[in-house]
């Protein structure tokens, strides 16, 4: 199926089973449950924990980035010379950064847990040939080339990959380096000892900060691409990608899910 749905493709009769793709061939025992409307179906795609994670994570990233940039390079300060006891600007920036970091970490851990117990749209399995075939076609789709990208009800495989590389791997890097730096002044505590192995991977204090800082910017790059592609998907596919992030429901053409599970 090409990028835009061409009107010449008359609706129905729908195939029994949609063409095999990386999405519907994974966890066949968990069928896509949907309610039928006229030519479309309503599918519950994003469960509440996934939506909560998405928005908590988004808010935390913005807050962490703003305070993080200030901590790395303080861009504001008292305009007139004063004594230190009048203000606590860096103190607050650090406090907000650290507090948000704990929220960010908790949300991340919960999302990782949901990879195991969530519905099939919350899971990920790259160890299949069809996954990489679909990824290749998705890349071609984004490059305006002729492609055989199937329609995906959940994430397309390229999006999934980008979440795992930018978001989840990125989160692991910032969380590990961040907590090491957070507990750095109290080396003798149990908390610091939990992260004492981090320097063996990320180097000394200076290199550790470089990892943290550069990964933060990778998140910014990800946000630009992610937000754009989400709106683009909504524009081309007209299946309610953006509103599904609030409601959890997407409106899909019947042929994307097949009639097998029609009730």
């Amino acid at each position: 199926m090409g990028a835009p749905k061409l009107p010449i493709q008359t609706p129905g009769p729908f195939p029994e089973i949609p063409a095999i793709n990386s999405e519907n061939s994974y966890h066949k025992d968990e069928p896509i449950i949907y309610t039928t409307m006229e030519n479309d179906v309503k599918v519950y795609v994003w469960e509440l924990p996934v939506r909560l994670y998405h928005w908590i994570n988004a808010a935390a990233i913005i807050l962490l980035m703003v305070t993080g940039i200030y901590i790395g390079k303080p861009f504001a300060g008292a305009g007139i010379p004063e004594e230190a006891y009048y203000s606590n600007l860096m103190g607050w920036a650090r406090y907000i950064h650290f507090f948000t970091a704990f929220v960010f970490t908790a949300a991340f851990l919960y999302r990782m847990y949901w990879c195991f117990v969530g519905n099939k749209f919350a899971k990920f399995n790259p160890f299949r040939w069809v996954f990489w075939k679909d990824t290749f076609h998705t890349i071609k789709f984004y490059l305006f080339l002729k492609n055989k990208k199937p329609h995906f009800v959940g994430h397309n495989p390229l999006a999934l990959l980008s979440y795992w590389i930018f978001n989840y791997l990125g989160s692991v890097i910032v969380i590990l380096t961040g907590f090491f730096m957070y507990f750095e002044p109290q080396k003798e505590t149990i908390w610091a000892k939990m992260f004492a192995w981090v320097p063996y991977i990320f180097g000394n204090s200076f290199t550790m900060r470089s990892w943290h800082h550069l990964t933060a910017w990778a998140f910014m790059l990800f946000i630009v691409l992610h937000v754009y592609l989400a709106f683009r998907d909504d524009y081309l596919e007209r299946c309610g990608s953006i509103s599904s992030l609030f409601t959890g429901y997407k409106t899909e053409p019947k042929k994307a899910v097949g009639e097998k599970h029609d009730k």
């Binding site: 835009p4 390079k73 200076f206 470089s210 910017w217």
Partner: protein, 359 residues
């Protein structure tokens, strides 16, 4: 071999009183980070232990560490040199030279095998052509002396991490002592140079307790390298308040604001400068208005300019301004996205039109 004098006997011989000796021991206990009640332990050790033979080898160095060492105030350098240790070989301080000096080094190896402390200043070149003393390469001398030593004390950032000589592209193949020995216990005392009291304190600790001080994961004595400069800094209040020196000639610099924005590496540097200070506790770089450049940290020589904050691209020697590069990358992405969005709209319009024609 005649009986060695104890540290106490040596002190009395040099005209110190018992009172002076006790004062020295108490101050030493404090410098070692011991409790007051433990100073008795120091006294006992100094009364019973003989002077420790020390061989001080210099390789690719600037003698800065020796210079720092001889400025120790507590314990005083003369008491260390004359009472606590017996400096058997030193290129800077020994009276004999040439073959006599080299012979005395061999004598130590014969007489005090397994007892002497090997102090090393400077990095060791992998390529022998760059450093040969008395016809023997630095590496050979070091390996020979390290094998019989009780412990190795690596003084300075060169012998601890590689130092200036190891700066990119490292023409001599300079390496720290730890990459040549594995069996002999080694203490790293980094710094360029290390604080004098730390240098003497490490030796005093070995004499007092007969073993190495507690070391951290990098092999540095915890007593002196457990704190970050940043956490003990006298300007820390200005950091938390968000008051920063922007230039070395601005009002903030006069007010004594935090030097974070002019590149202070205090937040990533482990040393006792902020607590022990230099020259007998007079001052230290940050107190004097100069940002710390992290001279006791590994790779400080390759971590970019001293007076700006930068980030290193992991795995390279390249440092960048992370925010400028990050903004540029995000800006490029945004521009790319705009073009791509325009393409998407045009393609959709064209496709829709073609679809209508087909009907």
């Amino acid at each position: 071999m005649k009986r060695q004098k104890t540290v106490y006997e040596a002190a009395i011989d040099h005209g110190f009183s018992r009172r002076d000796f006790l004062k020295m021991c108490t101050a030493l206990a404090a410098a070692l980070g011991l409790e007051f009640t433990q100073s008795e332990q120091v006294v006992k050790a100094m009364e019973t232990k003989t002077r420790v033979p020390v061989v001080w080898l210099q390789f690719q160095d600037c003698t800065g560490c020796s210079e720092s060492f001889i400025r120790s105030s507590q314990p005083k350098t003369e008491s260390v040199l004359l009472e606590m240790i017996s400096l058997e070989y030193s290129e800077v301080l020994s009276a004999p030279s040439g073959h006599q000096a080299e012979t005395s080094m061999k004598q130590v190896l014969k007489n005090y095998k397994g007892e002497y402390i090997l102090a090393v200043e400077g990095s060791i070149p992998d390529d022998d052509a760059f450093l040969t003393v008395g016809g023997q390469s630095a590496k050979a001398t070091f390996l020979e002396m390290a094998a019989g030593a009780k412990a190795i004390v690596a003084y300075g950032s060169c012998s601890s991490w590689g130092g200036i000589a190891a700066a990119h592209p490292n023409p001599t193949g300079a390496k720290p002592v730890t990459s040549f020995v594995k069996d002999t216990p080694t203490i790293l005392v980094p710094g360029c140079p290390p604080i004098a009291e730390v240098m003497t304190g490490v030796i005093a600790h070995i004499i007092t307790f007969g073993k190495l001080p507690e070391l951290d994961q990098f092999g540095r004595p915890k007593a002196f390298y457990r704190h970050r400069i940043h956490d003990k800094c006298n300007r820390r209040a200005y950091f938390d308040a968000g008051l920063f020196v922007e230039n070395f000639d601005d009002e903030g610099a006069k007010q004594g604001y935090c030097l974070y924005k002019v590149g202070c590496k205090g937040p990533t540097t482990y040393n006792s400068c902020a607590e022990m200070r230099w020259n007998g506790g007079v001052s230290y770089p940050i107190q004097s208005g100069n940002p710390c450049f992290g001279c006791s940290e590994k790779d400080f020589w390759d971590n970019g300019p001293f007076y700006t904050r930068r980030a290193k691209i992991p795995g390279t020697q390249t440092t960048i301004n992370p925010d400028n590069v990050g903004l540029a990358v995000v800006g490029l992405a945004a521009a790319g996205v705009t073009v791509h969005a325009a393409g998407t709209v045009i393609k959709k319009k064209l496709d829709d039109k073609r679809g209508e024609e087909h009907e």
